[in-house]
Amino acid sequence: MGIKDLTTMGESQVDIKNEIRQRMDKLVEELPDFCFQCGKCTSGCEAYKLLELEPHRIVALLKRGLIDEMINSDVIWTCMSCFKCRERCPQRVAPVDILFSLKNLSVLQGKQIPGKFTGMLQSILSSGLIQGIQEVTTCDNRTVTRDDLGLPSLITPDSGSFQVSKIAIEKI
């Protein structure tokens, strides 16, 4: 029993497909099942032209349970979360939300997190913000920070009671 993709020799992974559906059920209401591949999402996808992300194809692959191909790819990280696909889909499917769930699953499975995400994550775990106070240059070439500009000091979360590290390892 089962479906095999002859291009990649990938087999349909019904269990993981159901897990993604469950994650989505817990967070949003749209279901990928109703997609009829009209392509309106990809027509307007901000990430398609430069990065070849095809939201309708992501949905179709999910429907068939061909998850590994997506989780192991770079393309799922190209989504710009502009939400146009969710807004304009005539069947209330939300490829953007499917992509978030695929990315989360990819991280859970220990795949490499691209770019500066790791740095941002670590910063949040320690200070609660994605980065520390930055020095910026003015138009007359001086460098200033928050204090120099007279803005009130930032009071970040108390590291003792901040529970973010607990939730960082939890699953949905």
Binding site: C38, G39, S43, H56, R92
Partner: protein, 658 residues
């Protein structure tokens, strides 16, 4: 003492796979007054009917209980069967052990227990049933058709040809409807007006058809066989007996060329006095009371220009609305459709560009009698476009707008693309953006094949947005067939929007007491087997008012609905079920609560002839539809519905609870 026979149906395995029919039969046989109890695999079959009849004869039964599917399915059939053997058809009770038992439960033991209760209840009521006589209603052999489009026209002609008088009521000044707005029809490319106008003329000339144009139905009373309908004829302010349709008034009108012409989808302008289109039937002018200077402001120059110009002196500003009342035996609704407003799909820019239009607007443009005399021109520049792009499914198959398919979109776009190519030759680029091409009808696939050979760019996909630019329109569309994103730079975009019910469809439905489905179209009695019957007896529906469809299907449905109507009209009398309400005069206190809750106006308070000074409720048996509201509301219990009396129902409930 009644002699009751109980018949249990297996309904194949629909009932017997969940309910133990053998046990049910045994149980039923032991109930008081039950003389015999049988079970059979298909009671609704010929053999089943024979079984019932033979058992009635053998055991001399006078009351029947049938445990089967919903009475909505076969109660009528079973009543006829028992009547043939001499049993009063109203001494029969149906216990629904399918939809209300076998089909709603899985536990066999509990389902069987419930079925026993249901049968016991039915038997308890059956013991108290009395023979009833069917009501007879004299049928008025005349029909009312509401709506003068092709559906209404066809239905009127069919009913009239069958020999019955027809009143055809049309809201606008002329019949013809949407078909009159079309240039050509697919797949034969017949000129729409050419095939329509002969039928319109037939309607005008038919001795049995009374055409009431520029009129509306305002009230309906009565029931199948005998309806009383109030109609208001709006004033044209023109004496139709004198008007020759010459058009001099429109030429002279001070507002000539100023009023948006609805027939041309507001793309052209008319005068305040007008005919909707040149082949109008009746060819009589009408003064638009919303725009006419004299009617709205009381003054039109030194004197109204039309009045001065009209030679036969047909202008008559003193006209008032006229009301009339007619009696008909059947009503047929054929009020058609409206177009979904594509500005609701904001991303497609309909309201932001003159060059983004609907298919109906494009159809008027294609038409030789239309606003551009058949020339294809961009509204922004009034020049020929070098590229036209059709976008299908705008608002259709869309959970956020209309969930259903519009059924005519694909074919109408193909037709328009064909006509465009024919008019403009090779010089124009034609693009069609589709999700599916639904070319389902006779000759439709062959037509689609023809289009595929006409150098048209088909894109399988939907644009995310359509962007008007300073000169032209641009859209990105992902084509799932070649798996590529295309940027289409075009000069005119034709959107194919969904079809929606007329805005006043709900009001008309309320007037007629018929149902509307979730999508707003009129609801048919059964989607497969009774698609032209409305939910109320005696009222029929045809054409797009029941759901989007094209001309062949509309005409077919109209003729079908006409036959349904004539099946009533051809009878001198109709038998109506005697499930109306009776009043016990001694118990009635004349409180009037019943009259206030009756939705059909069937109850009046009148003076009691035997007790001066006292009032009692009087029921009009013809108007009464047996809904039971009054008997539920009646505080004294004096109102009892035949076949559903309090005593009978209480006995049923007691048996259920045992």
């Amino acid at each position: 003492m009644s002699r009751i026979g109980v018949f249990i149906c297996h309904c194949g395995i629909n009932i017997s796979s969940t309910v133990d029919t053998e046990e049910l039969r045994r149980f039923s046989g032991e109930l008081a007054n039950v003389v015999v109890s049988k079970d059979y695999i298909y009671l609704c079959s010929d053999a089943g009917a024979k079984l019932i009849k033979n058992t009635v004869k053998e055991y001399n039964l006078d009351t029947i209980v049938i445990a089967s599917c919903s009475p909505k399915m076969h109660e009528h059939t079973f009543r006829s069967v028992v009547e043939e053997e001499g049993v009063n058809p109203y001494q029969m009770e149906v216990a629904n052990i399918r939809e209300q038992c076998a089909w709603s439960h899985e536990d066999k033991e509990k389902a069987t227990q419930k079925a026993k209760s249901l049968v016991a209840g039915a038997v308890a009521k059956a013991r108290l049933l009395k023979p009833l006589k069917k009501q007879k209603v004299t049928v008025v052999p005349q029909a009312l058709v509401i709506g003068g489009g092709i559906a209404g026209i066809q239905a009127s002609l069919d009913i009239a040809e069958a020999g019955f008088k027809v009143f055809l009521v049309e809201k606008t000044p002329s019949i013809g409807g949407r078909m009159a707005q079309l240039d050509k029809t697919y797949p034969t490319l017949d000129c729409s007006a050419c095939i329509l106008t002969p039928k319109m003329m037939e309607v005008a000339n038919h001795p049995h058809i009374t055409l009431l144009s520029y009129a509306q139905v305002t009230n309906i009373q009565g029931s199948i066989g005998n309806y009383t309908v109030a109609i208001t004829k709006k004033p044209r302010y023109i004496d139709v007996d004198k008007c020759t349709g010459c058009g001099v008034c429109a030429e002279a009108c001070r507002l000539k060329g100023k009023i948006p012409n609805e027939f041309d989808m507001d793309m052209a302008k008319r005068a305040a006095v007008y005919v909707p289109f040149p082949q109008a039937v009746p060819l009589k002018y009408t003064i638009d009371d919303q725009t006419c200077l004299y009617l709205t402001k009381g003054k039109c120059g030194p004197s109204p220009a039309c009045l001065d110009a009209c030679v036969p002196k047909a202008i008559d500003f003193t006209q008032k609305p006229e009301t009339m009342e007619i009696n008909v035996g059947a009503i047929l609704v054929a009020t058609g459709y409206d177009l979904f407003d594509p500005s609701a799909v904001h991303e497609y820019g309909y309201s932001r560009s003159k060059d983004i239009i609907t298919n109906l607007e494009f159809e008027r443009m294609l038409s030789a009698s239309g606003p551009t005399r058949g020339d294809i021109l961009r509204f922004s520049t009034e020049e020929k476009p070098r590229s036209v792009t059709f976008v299908l499914c705008v608002g259709s198959r869309d959970e956020t707008h209309c969930t259903y398919c519009c059924r005519i979109g694909c074919m109408s776009a193909l037709k328009q693309a064909y006509l465009l190519r024919e008019k403009m030759g090779r010089d124009i680029e034609v693009n069609i953006c589709y999700t599916d091409i639904r070319s389902f009808g006779k000759g439709y696939e062959e037509f689609y094949r023809k289009l595929r050979g006409m150098d048209i760019n088909f894109f399988r996909g939907r644009p995310s947005d359509i962007r008007p630019l300073a000169d032209g329109v641009v859209m990105d569309i992902f084509d799932t067939i070649t798996n590529k994103l295309y940027e289409i730079s075009t000069e005119m975009v034709v959107l194919i929007p969904a079809l929606i019910p007329r805005s006043d469809a709900v009001d008309l439905a309320r007037l007629l007491n018929i149902s509307v489905s979730a999508d707003g179209f009129l609801l048919e009695a059964h989607p497969k087997l009774r698609p032209m019957d409305a939910s109320t007896d005696g009222i029929f529906i045809a054409g797009c008012c029941q759901g989007p469809k094209d001309i062949p299907d509309t005409v077919a449905q109209a003729s079908g609905a006409a036959v349904r109507a004539t099946s009533i009209l051809s009878k001198k009398e109709l038998e109506v079920e005697p499930i109306y309400v009776e009043v016990d005069k001694d118990l009635c206190s004349g409180c009037g609560v019943c009259a206030s809750v009756c939705p059909y106006g069937a109850i009046d308070l009148q003076a009691d002839p035997d007790k001066p000074g006292k009032q009692i409720a009087v029921i009009n048996k013809v108007l009464c539809k047996g809904c039971g509201l009054c008997s539920a509301a009646c505080p004294s219990g004096s109102l009892q519905q035949l076949g559903y009396k309090n005593g009978q129902l209480v006995a049923m409930i007691d048996a259920y609870l045992e």
